[in-house]
Each structure stands twice: as structure tokens, then as C-alpha cells.
């Protein structure tokens, strides 16, 4: 039976923990708002890019000399798996879910006899993955110094990824991240980056519709435009993934901290009841002692 003093100390410590989790929840909520705005602001560019690619890709894909970013290297022996996670913990199952999805994919690839290379963005994912795939991790991108994620940050990563592709270091690149749905729901998403998957247009007409149904003049020509566009698309996709990831992280943290605050509240309640009962029991005990002492006289 803990003494009254011990109970008081425990109640106070849970109370201060609750204050911290409450503050963290509010911080996460305001960061989430900003992250969501950034993700929304990036949407128009990605959408327009997709439209252009759909229209162009359909007409170029069949031609010889199309960019390897579009048609691939013709092999799929080496796969680069990019795992985006967070830099900081205390965000519930956020990192665990991403890593779990990545791990399943990695094990499948290894079982199929393929070579895998792993690029970690964010050190939380790296810390878990290195236990099982330590020798396969080629690089870890530290994002902790970045306050506000800009396109330039994504572009730096994209340039490295593309340079490795051009040197023939891998055949396929896949990106793992958490897509933001709501503060409660984040979908772990696997997305193929290279070769660029073209959104399927049902037929030629639909592809033309994407471009406004008009016959276009191309300057310099379709292939050249596509060659220029595809590398940029990789950067845009990475940027979008990272933005979604950032919003998801804050959403997950907000939910986790909300739960923690509630748990702390429950704990304070039950500790308070124990505290009051103990206090009552002590008083009763003292009374009995006095009464029985008086009776004995």
C-alpha cells in the first residue's frame, strides 16, 4: 500500500506529463495546419504536370528512342527503395506503419532473388530498418535541419536518385510514404517513381482530351519536351510524397498526443480515488484507535 505522500507525488508527476502531452498536441495541430496548406499549394503543379505527361506519354511511348525514365531499362533486377519517415518520434504508429510496409516489400524482393538498395529519408525509419537491412542501406537523408520543406530539398534528393539511375545503379525506384487523409487516418503508400508510370488513358482520344482536345505544336518536339519533363516529374513526385508525409506525421502525432492526454486524465482520476480512499482509511483507523483506547479505560 503506497503512502499518501507517494500517491500525491505520483498524481503530480502524471499531471505534469499531461501538461506536456497537451502542449505537444497543440503544437502538432498548428504544424499540421501549415503542412496541409503546403500540400494543397503544391497540388496545382502536380495536377498540370500529370495532364501534360498523360497526353505526351501516350504519343511518345511507342516510339524508339523514348527516354529510359519512361520505358525503363528493360530489367528489374535492382530496385531502389526510398523510405520516407519522420525525424522525430512520439507520433504513434506513423513510422512503424511505413517501415512495416517497406519491410514486407523488401522481403518479397529479396525472396525473389532481386538486389535491393535502400535510401532512407528521415532517421526514424533508418533506425528500424538498419537492424534487418543494415548492409543494403546506401544513404540516409537527414531532414532535421529543414524547418520548412521546399522544392529545392526534394530536388536535391531527386538529382541524386536520377544520377544513380543514369549510372545504371538500379532499374526500378519505389517510394514509401504516408499519404495524408485526415488527422486520424494516414495511408501508407507505395509509389513507383522510375520508370515513370503513366496514368492510363483509355485510348488515344482521351489522351488528346487531356490536352484540351486541340492539335498542338511542339517546340522543340515531343521527345525533347518529355526528356525535360520526366526528371522534373521525379522531383515533383518526391516533393509531393514528402509533403504528404509531413502532414501525416503531424496528424499522427496529434492523435497520439490526444490519446496520451486522455490516458493521463484517466490515470489521474484513478490515482485520486486511491488517494482519497487511503486518506479516509487512515482517518477511520485513527478514530478506531482513539475510541478503542477510550473504551479500554
Amino acid at each position: 500500500m503506497p503512502s499518501l505522500k507517494d500517491l500525491k507525488i505520483r498524481i503530480n508527476s502524471v499531471k505534469s506529463t499531461q501538461k506536456i502531452t497537451k502542449a505537444m498536441k497543440m503544437v502538432a495541430a498548428s504544424k499540421l495546419k501549415r503542412a496541409q496548406e503546403a500540400a494543397e499549394a503544391a497540388r496545382p503543379y502536380a495536377e498540370r504536370m500529370e495532364k501534360v505527361l498523360t497526353g505526351l506519354g501516350a504519343s511518345v511511348a511507342g516510339q524508339p528512342g523514348a527516354s529510359p525514365l519512361l520505358i525503363g531499362t528493360g530489367k528489374d533486377d535492382v530496385e531502389l527503395v526510398i523510405v520516407a519517415s519522420s525525424e522525430r518520434g512520439l507520433c504513434g504508429g506513423f513510422n512503424t506503419n511505413i517501415v512495416k510496409a517497406a519491410r514486407i516489400h523488401l522481403r518479397e524482393l529479396i525472396a525473389a532473388g532481386k538486389t535491393v538498395k535502400i535510401l532512407c529519408i528521415g532517421k526514424k525509419g533508418f533506425n528500424v530498418l538498419r537492424r534487418e537491412f543494415g548492409d543494403k542501406i546506401i544513404d540516409v537523408k537527414d531532414m532535421s535541419g529543414i524547418k520548412k520543406l521546399g522544392f529545392a530539398d526534394a530536388q536535391t534528393i531527386a538529382q541524386e536518385v536520377l544520377a544513380m539511375y543514369e549510372r545504371g545503379e538500379y532499374d526500378v525506384a519505389t517510394l514509401f510514404y504516408a499519404k495524408f487523409q485526415s488527422a486520424l487516418v494516414q495511408l501508407t503508400t507505395k509509389q513507383q517513381l522510375i520508370p515513370t508510370p503513366l496514368p492510363e488513358a483509355a485510348n488515344e482520344n482521351e489522351a488528346a482530351d487531356e490536352l484540351g482536345g486541340a492539335a498542338y505544336d511542339y517546340e522543340p518536339d515531343e521527345t525533347a519536351i518529355l526528356d525535360d519533363l520526366l526528371p522534373r516529374n521525379v522531383a515533383v513526385q518526391i516533393y509531393r510524397g514528402l509533403l504528404e508525409n509531413a502532414a501525416s506525421e503531424q496528424g499522427a502525432r496529434m492523435t497520439a498526443m490526444d490519446n496520451a492526454t486522455r490516458n493521463a486524465g484517466d490515470m489521474i482520476d484513478s490515482l485520486s480515488i486511491t488517494y482519497n480512499r487511503t486518506r479516509q482509511a487512515n482517518i477511520t483507523k485513527e478514530l478506531i484507535e482513539i475510541i478503542s483506547g477510550a473504551e479500554a479505560l
Binding site: A38, A41, A42, V52, L56, E166, D217, P220, D228
Partner: protein, 135 residues
């Protein structure tokens, strides 16, 4: 026929402009071209250069430096997917010249062709920008 051209300038980070203009001069990869209302549909890559937005005919243009990207003219208007834009007022020429020199050194020291190509691309837009600012 409408007498203004609807245009949008979009950067990866956000929608920069969404408005009407009388004419827009775009630095296309094969040469500058002016987009006027009801221009024939076309698509062109952009070289590093200045996009000039004439809100009214014969007025003073708003000048915006674009590092590269894609311009698409559709019946709905002009869309510029810009890689990155800079306002010309923000450019410090001395600083830029230093960066150009640095990048030239980087090209010398580049380990392989892939790295060199990356630096050369950087150099291209910096030189273009320095040219425009100096004049």
C-alpha cells in the same frame, strides 16, 4: 475572340499567378515567343530567361525570371509550369558572379559526366540571369 489572355504561372510550391493579360512574352527553348489571346495550341520548353507579362497593350511589363520549365498554350489560356521564379529586383549581381565562378570550378572538379551535367545546368541559368541583370 476574347481580348485578354488567361494565364497561370505555377511553381512546384504554389500557384504563383492566375490572372488575365494582354500579352505575355515567353523565353521558349527555340526562341522567345509572344502569347496573345487565341494563340494556336502549342507546347514549348522554356530556357532560363525572363517572362514578360503585359497587363495592358503597350504598358510596362511585369518581369519575372524563370529558371526553366514548360509553357503550354491551350484554348483555355497559357499555363507556365516554372521550375523556379525569381523577382529581378532581388538579384545581387556581385553575389551571382561569385556563384558563377564557383560553379565553373565545380565543373572542372566534377567526378563524372552526370555530375558535370548537373553543374552545367546550374551554370546556364546563372549566366542567363547575370546577362539580363547586367543590361
Amino acid at each position: 475572340m476574347t481580348d485578354t489572355l488567361h494565364y497561370e504561372i505555377v511553381s512546384p510550391e504554389r500557384l504563383l499567378k492566375d490572372a488575365e493579360a494582354a500579352m505575355i512574352v515567353v523565353p521558349g527553348a527555340d526562341g522567345d515567343f509572344a502569347a496573345l489571346p487565341a494563340h494556336a495550341p502549342m507546347m514549348s520548353t522554356i530556357r532560363p530567361g525572363v517572362v514578360e507579362i503585359f497587363e495592358t497593350e503597350g504598358g510596362t511589363p511585369e518581369r519575372l525570371f524563370v529558371k526553366g520549365g514548360l509553357a503550354q498554350i491551350s484554348p483555355a489560356g497559357l499555363t507556365i509550369l516554372a521550375e523556379e521564379t525569381l523577382s529581378l529586383d532581388d538579384v545581387d549581381l556581385d553575389d551571382l558572379n561569385k556563384k558563377i565562378a564557383d560553379t565553373r570550378e565545380d565543373i572542372e572538379d566534377a567526378k563524372d559526366d552526370v555530375e558535370r551535367a548537373g553543374f552545367e545546368k546550374e551554370l546556364a541559368w546563372m549566366v542567363a540571369l547575370a546577362d539580363i541583370v547586367a543590361h
